[in-house]
């Protein structure tokens, strides 16, 4: 019980710290709604046969969820892990009577929580400003979002554990994140990408997040996305294994 209390206190503190980082907070909570407002104002949300009878906003919201997941997982997490190691913060926590697993789980819970909050902010913007369509099952969407987020947190912890410094962690994270967002359909619908590019996209974890989220959003059953879900679970496990292999407290 005390362990749970410790963990919750740690999560609350870590969430506060995350909100105090202006850049991280902007990209987690404000950037996706801003893009939605920008492109929504330009293209509107009229149903288009090109997008399967949906509007630009209807397909952008689930895709931008992928963008938030990738931003937190591949940029915030590696910087956070590597900075905490480099600035000897992990050492300071390890010298306290806090089970190491509690510390690490609290970190993951915090990152999951801010990703979820960012997603909620985006959905609210789509709903309130553009009357976005949602035909899915909220629980299925939440479950898909959770699988996707955990997979990217795994990748992020792996990058943060393997990078020798916080600077390297940031650079590697961005190098992974930006091409993935561009080719994975997080910025532009996958439909706009040429066939040759989409063959590469199929190997990027983020593509599967976007396809999964768009599918669940439009009401298709999780069973039809078993391939995407498997891809993400494998990604998460690989990330977790790499993290476990390379994580260092100092």
């Amino acid at each position: 019980m005390t362990v749970v209390k410790m963990g919750l206190r740690l999560v609350m503190t870590e969430v506060k710290l995350y909100l105090r980082e202006p850049v991280a907070a902007f990209f987690t909570f404000a950037f996706a709604p801003m893009m939605l407002i920008l492109f929504g104002s330009i293209f509107g949300n009229q149903p288009s046969p090109f997008l399967g009878g949906r509007g630009m906003v209807d397909v952008s919201v689930p895709a931008y969820l992928g963008m938030i997941i990738a931003t937190v997982g591949l940029i915030s997490v590696p910087i956070g892990i590597a900075t905490r190691r480099e600035a000897r913060i992990l050492r300071r926590f390890r010298a306290a009577p806090l089970p190491p697993a509690v510390y690490l789980i609290a970190q993951l819970v915090m990152y999951y929580a801010v990703t979820l909050l960012g997603g909620i902010a985006l959905v609210l913007a789509g709903r309130l400003l553009f009357g976005m369509r949602f035909d899915g099952n909220p629980l299925a969407v939440l479950a898909g979002f959770t699988v996707a987020t955990l997979a990217f947190l795994g990748l992020g912890v792996a990058v943060g554990s393997m990078a020798p410094t916080a600077r390297t962690a940031q650079a590697v994270g961005m190098i992974l994140a930006f091409p993935m967002m561009a080719l994975g359909g997080a910025w532009m619908p996958l439909e706009t990408l040429p066939e040759s590019v989409r063959r590469i996209s199929a190997w990027l974890p983020l593509t599967h997040v976007v396809v999964l989220m768009r599918g669940l959003w439009a009401g298709s059953s999780p069973g039809r996305h078993i391939g995407d879900i498997t891809f993400l679970i494998v990604t998460g496990i690989l990330g977790g294994l790499l993290a476990a292999r390379f994580f260092r407290w100092e």
């Binding site: 600035a87 913060i89 050492r91």
Partner: protein
Amino acid sequence: MQAVIRVEGLRKAYGSRVAVDGISFEVYEGEIFGMVGPNGAGKTTTIECIEGLRRPDGGTVRVLGLDPQQEGLRLRQRIGIQLQEGGLPDRLRVEEAVTLFASFYPRPMDPQALLERLGLAGLRRVPFGQLSGGQKQRLFIALALVGNPELVFLDELTTGLDPHARRAMWDMVREIRAEGRTVFLTTHYMEEAERLCDRVAIMDRGRIVALDTPERLIHALGAEHRVIFHTNAPFDPTPLRDLPGVSQVEQIGERVVIYGKGDRLAAQVVEALVARGIAPRDLRVEQPTLEDVFLALTGRPMEEANPRENQGGNR
């Protein structure tokens, strides 16, 4: 006296470099125990093996009857650790840090009272990243005390602090001991060890070369005292050489230095001067220090052995 720390044959190497070479000692309940020596002598490795943060290659360590490797969590509930190299998130505020760490312990101290006591009450809402070196150090002491520990570890507590802040830290350490807590500290300032510690272990190149009270270590050295004074009128100091215990007399202009042994050295010199009608000015007695002990034991002065001042280059 009850031993709260027992170390026997502790050994730790990093690759081919032996950091701690089979040392044994005990720390008793209620004392301020100091481990002194130059950077790289193995002090921090020793303290971290005792805290359970580092795994020894050999030997046994028992702290409060617990094995730091097997029962690390239970041990760390009862000890307080100030790390030589530790950090906190830059945006974490002073008060948040202390209340957060308080939540990790079964019987914590009141965070507010602790902040008052360490002079951090006015800095409650200041983020860690904006604190000065001395303020950070006080916050780390607060984190070491917040768990209400029986035993407090202070690793290079005053490194990088100005003399004023250093003295304030010494008072703090004495206060911690006065509350009945045992203190284990490391330092590479011999003066600090001499003034603060009940017992001192002098460490050099991974071994303990001496362990005793500072007074006894200095006394055992059998080194000479120096009586130094100035005179207004020129005089011939040669007859002072015949005083018992005096070995050498130096005169440089108005300044006279007399070397010798014995508790009555200074009194004899003053008596002899007064008998000759000479009034010594600015008279002082210099006693050997732990620096001299280190020099005698290792064959080199601490400054040479400490190549990079204020740098915790050791591990």
